[in-house]
Symmetry: C2
């Protein structure tokens, strides 16, 4: 399918290296932030803030990082096309499952603190993102995995599948950045070292999204 | 160039209608927010908040909306390719100029309020975005407008130009959303009508970015 323009495919594969780097850096920074600057991570803690911290961790490490890995699976996993496809589906499923647990954590926190749910812009974008993600996964599963559609239909729908997937990742990154922005403003971190630390974490999450996007786009380019 | 797959080109053109709708709605909502709920818009006012409000207005109406229009110019302007190309360049230049004035407004506000600049995540992403936007514009201008590069080079670089442009729009939307999130958290709007109004404004800005992205991506798809 892409043999006539291998140069973009190669560029795209090299971009996955940068994407991995940014992804790993963002997770390390996030963990340092949650474990050193904040209260730690524990879903079953009596301390509401430790429960809350499960949310950013699972949304970035679980939802965004696994989604990105799933999107890059065709370039990073050295195996047959069928294995790549299965891993693409499986990594997305893991991302979705971890994302749902991450959302449960923040609802549990709201319950413990007696705060209303779904008020902020962050929560609106976030719930919209994971809902679209679920639809995209189901649509992809029934069209491409269980051989429900004809080859020509699969091929015709592919650009929508890829572009739709990219858009959902874009929305997921927007959710993460609005969430970190909300937390930083709420904590009034403006002039502290923690604020700059959090900014760098967010910038690496953004760069992860950007490089996954570049890598996926260029690999399929006209 | 795309005559073999006109169906995506048509879909992409229809998507521009949705993009325009979301763009116009977001500007109307933003104006209502700034003029009704907030203090109004005036760069030369003695009221620091009226000066500040120039910033969200120019970044959304000026920077994001004009960028999006520029990106869709090849589908929305019924003229020769050369005219479309010139408008693509010009609309981007207007977006950049209005964006710079918008950024000046917030620096002026900081000065009036004696607040430090460039502390927040929003400011980091924003300044990164407009810098990359400037580079992308210069790169595009010297490669495509003044006929500096050979036809084969122009063609080879095009996917990077398009994908890079999409990524900069993605970053601009992230900047807008983190900015609105910061303002909403700062004003402690969580349980008020204004909070929901602001959320809807931000959601339409996000949808504008999403539909411009979809329309640009699908039009050039393999």
């Amino acid at each position: 399918m892409y043999t006539d323009r291998p140069q973009y495919y190669d560029s795209a594969s090299r971009l996955t290296v940068v994407a991995h780097f940014c992804g790993v850096v963002s997770i390390v920074l996030l963990l340092v932030w949650l474990l050193h600057y904040r209260e730690g991570i524990d879903y079953y803690s009596g301390d509401a803030f430790r429960v809350f911290n499960v949310h950013p961790f699972l949304m970035v490490f679980g939802f965004i990082f696994f989604s990105g890995e799933a999107m890059m699976a065709y370039k990073t996993i050295f195996a047959t096309r069928d294995v790549q496809k299965f891993m693409h589906m499986l990594l997305h499923l893991i991302a979705f499952a971890l994302g749902v647990v991450g959302i449960c954590a923040v609802f549990k926190y709201h319950n413990m603190q007696q705060v209303e749910d779904m008020n902020s812009l962050h929560s609106w974008i976030g719930i919209g993102t994971i809902s679209l993600f679920g639809c995209q996964w189901l649509f992809g599963f029934f069209t491409y995995m269980i051989r429900g559609a004809s080859t020509s239909t699969k091929k015709r729908i592919m650009p929508w599948h890829i572009t739709g997937g990219r858009v959902v990742l874009f929305m997921a990154v927007c959710s993460a950045l609005t969430g970190l922005m909300q937390k930083a403003t709420f904590l009034k971190l403006e002039h502290e070292r923690e604020a700059r630390f959090l900014n760098f974490t967010a910038v690496f999450i953004l760069l992860f999204g950007v490089f996954v996007d570049l890598s996926v786009s260029l690999a399929h380019y006209v």
